[in-house]
Amino acid sequence: MGPGTLWMLAFFAIPVIVMCGYSFMPRGTYGGVDPGFTLEAYARFLHPVYLTILERTFVVALVCTVLCALTGYPVAYAIARSTKWRTLLLFLVVLPFWTSFLVRTFAMIFLMRDTGLINTWLLRLHLIQQPLTMLYTPFAVLLGLVYGYLPFMILPIYASLEKLDTSLLEAAEVLGARPTARFLRVTLPLSTPGLIAGSLLVFIPSLGSFLTSDLLGGAKGLLVGNLIQNQFSTARNWPFGSAASLILMTLVLIAVLIYLRLRLRPE
């Protein structure tokens, strides 16, 4: 266990600590940092434009999570209930998860451009007169995120449903409960751990996403991920970028703590 832990310490814990240190140092004129201690990076974050970005990121991540839950739960339920096709269906769900995110995002660009596949066919079928602007809109970003993270929602919910004791459902039926009631009173509550896990697995990466809004959003909207990436390239403001990263990471840890609390609550 030694070498593994050492590696994690060296290449995970220490970088974060170094980044922490940077966030408290003054910005060098041309990039990098000057020696010293200052809170100006954190203070700068309190400026309305950055708080708006944080808020907007939060909202986007939340909407994405809700959409994934609404779409993913029925699918997970169907897979858990099926017996013949289960392995195949699971494979179909897992496959996009492992396919390169970049490739899948490019696929969306390909479909959604003004001269892309969807528009071309809608125009040909005379369903629209002008091409629909799909790409480079908040809609595209949201769609890209949901498409990207849906498997993360389906799998935990499925795992939870799979373990469901069907005898409970049968007992409920015997006692006269109708299908809807059985679902709401038995299935749903028992699958809550999966739902929460899935939500976490979608919400957290969405908070840090920047590739999707970069490629699908036309660089017009800024999420926290883009802001951070900017600070390390264009703006050359490493303290501010480090501070923003740490703030993001704190939010993530808070989300994880909430999750653990919910999980460990006595049933």
Binding site: M1, P3, G4, W7, F11, F12, P15, V16, M19, T71, P74, V75, Y77, A78, I79, R81, L89, F91, L92, V94, L95, P96, W98, T99, S100, F101, L102, V103, R104, F106, A107, I109, F110, R113, T115, G116, L117, Y147, P151, L169, E170, E173, L201, I204, P205, G208, F210, L211, G225, I228, F232, W238, G241, S242, S245, L248, M249, V252, L253, V256
Partner: protein, 261 residues
């Protein structure tokens, strides 16, 4: 009676799964289209695939991706398996905390991981290149390996190792002849998944790569940002194909485990 799935649910699931795969399917289909500007099917061709082989930057990137992938996989699997074994077998103080901390890298946004590593390498004045990429990939892969191997260990009967020892084998031989063979499918599975993760990684790699050490995702990204042309479809198709095959093999191995247990 209660087992019948409502019709609407089947349809809904079908639609969702179809939509999940549609973009990539379209991508694959159009990689064979002879028109440069997509959308109109003007004929079947493998021309774009041939062009990939001509592009030195793609060939180099592929080579780099493979080198990084294999190296990172070997290291990550070795280190991760050790951790998994320790966590599954032994009790020690702070174990729960340690386990929890193991999961932090999985949930940390990639951009934070990438940037913190960049900052550290710069701080240490360590030149960016293939080495830094391998280091980064191992760092984010170890937790995955731990999770997969631990899952496999959980399904394994601990007593088998003890039984071997009662029969006269010493600890090391028991480990070698009993534990490892049983664990092997889990290790291979973890290795394949780690390789996929490493091969596909973009965000973290983009921060820690140096000159001449571009990997395939980095090259694809700059292609996507520059000119949309079917070569991108071609290379994407190849990646998807490779991933599918590796995933299928990994699936088969884990399925074997269920048959065993």
């Amino acid at each position: 009676m209660t087992r019948a799935i409502p019709r609407w649910l089947i349809v809904f699931t079908g639609i969702v799964l179809f939509l999940m795969h549609l973009p990539v399917l379209v991508l694959v289909v159009f990689s064979f289209n002879s028109s440069k500007f997509a959308v109109d099917w003007t004929g079947f061709t493998t021309h774009w695939y041939a062009r990939l082989a001509e592009r030195e930057d793609i060939v180099n990137a592929l080579r780099n991706s493979l080198i990084v992938g294999v190296t990172a996989t070997i290291i990550a699997v070795a280190l991760g398996t050790l951790i998994a074994l320790a966590l599954a077998r032994h009790r020690f103080r702070g174990k729960t905390l340690y386990e929890g901390l193991m999961y932090v890298p999985i949930v940390t946004p990639e951009i934070v991981t990438g940037i913190s590593l960049l900052v550290m390498f710069v701080f240490l004045r360590f030149p960016l290149g293939l080495t830094t990429i391998v280091v980064a990939h191992v760092a984010f892969s170890i937790p995955f390996v731990v999770v997969v191997v631990m899952a496999r260990l959980a399904g394994m009967d601990e007593n088998l190792e003890e039984a071997a020892m009662t029969l006269g084998a010493d600890e090391i031989t028991a480990f070698r002849k009993v534990t490892i063979p049983l664990l092997w499918p889990g290790i291979i599975s973890a290795a394949l998944l780690t390789f996929i993760l490493s091969f596909d990684d973009f965000v973290i790699t983009s921060f820690v790569a140096g000159s001449g050490s571009s990997t395939l995702p980095l090259v694809i990204y700059s292609m996507v940002r520059r000119n949309i042309e079917p070569s991108i479809n071609a290379i994407s198709t190849l990646i998807v194909l490779a991933t599918t095959i590796l995933l299928y093999v990994a699936e088969q191995l884990t399925r074997e485990k269920k048959a065993h247990a």
